[in-house]
Symmetry: C3
Subunit: 142 residues, 3 copies
Amino acid sequence: MAFKVVTRGFEVRSGGEDEVLDITSDVREAVAASGLSDGVATVFVVGSTAAITTMEYEPGLVKDFPEMLERVAPKSGIEYEHQRRWHDGNGHSHVKASLVGPSLSIPFVKKGLALGQWQQVVFVEFDVRPRTRKIVVQLIGE
Amino acid sequence: MAFKVVTRGFEVRSGGEDEVLDITSDVREAVAASGLSDGVATVFVVGSTAAITTMEYEPGLVKDFPEMLERVAPKSGIEYEHQRRWHDGNGHSHVKASLVGPSLSIPFVKKGLALGQWQQVVFVEFDVRPRTRKIVVQLIGE
Amino acid sequence: MAFKVVTRGFEVRSGGEDEVLDITSDVREAVAASGLSDGVATVFVVGSTAAITTMEYEPGLVKDFPEMLERVAPKSGIEYEHQRRWHDGNGHSHVKASLVGPSLSIPFVKKGLALGQWQQVVFVEFDVRPRTRKIVVQLIGE
């Protein structure tokens, strides 16, 4: 089969700070639509106050994960230099996003992503207001 | 040379919580066996309570890295929502795994991985019991 | 168009601990010079005491991001096992580097990286002295 790059962008609308959205089906659909059998899916969020990772998507962890990050980069009680310069109230959002990271690489084989049964691809919103976000899923393979 | 995708899965048996295993030789062998010269190696752990990263694999850091994460997501003293719902005692394991992340991308050139001399590819077990884990190494290149 | 792998290494000289350098233009130049239109850029730092991520590169966050990590892995006040064994004063540098991670994958389309306007690719030095670092940018695509 021929090698191909297939890039698909889609938008998500986040409800606001610390929302975690399951985007696994979007990645699966991109693989299915690509016609590719084997390769790598790169999932990338555009912007500097959101992140991509995997987790077991269930209502408990959807709270626990942001709470862990609140301990690391609290919204209040710390003077962020970003805040002193820009006054947009999201210094903590930025540092959390840089820590978790914007990209994820997932192999797929015979059109199936190498995810575990309890492992979903998630988008995490760290900004302090609802945002429309662009996520890029790019597939390279054959 | 022709472009190829070569995917290889292997299993590791972890001894339990916070064990760090050096899997560099597995990645190296996958590159050697692929016949590829230049490309990217994607290393991905299947499951939501383990992670992949790089470190200098020596007995000190193998303790220091999990201890840092214990400060971020302590096993005791924090009420995890995951625990309240599922009672499996591993809420802290999940959030640490999502933070470190399940995937790593390493370029290789002339069959050699772009790792430093003191930089190994490691698997980190965060779950509270020994687990058999599947790791996928996928090579794309020519 | 034909599929290709193009690998480019370059060096950065860091000024010392916690310095954050914007390397976006290096990645852009690698894409431009490759002749490739669509594919994935893998950015990888060689070594175990530095990391790659994205952030809005401005003077505030350049301080806030290392300060967050200092809370997670303080330079003083914690006895690192790495220090007890090697006495090189950089146990905290190692664990921070493993947490943030050495690799980043960014899709590019029509020669343009999928970065946001306020999202730069950054190198972060965690070691306790200035270092000359090798960064690998590898492009795979067509």
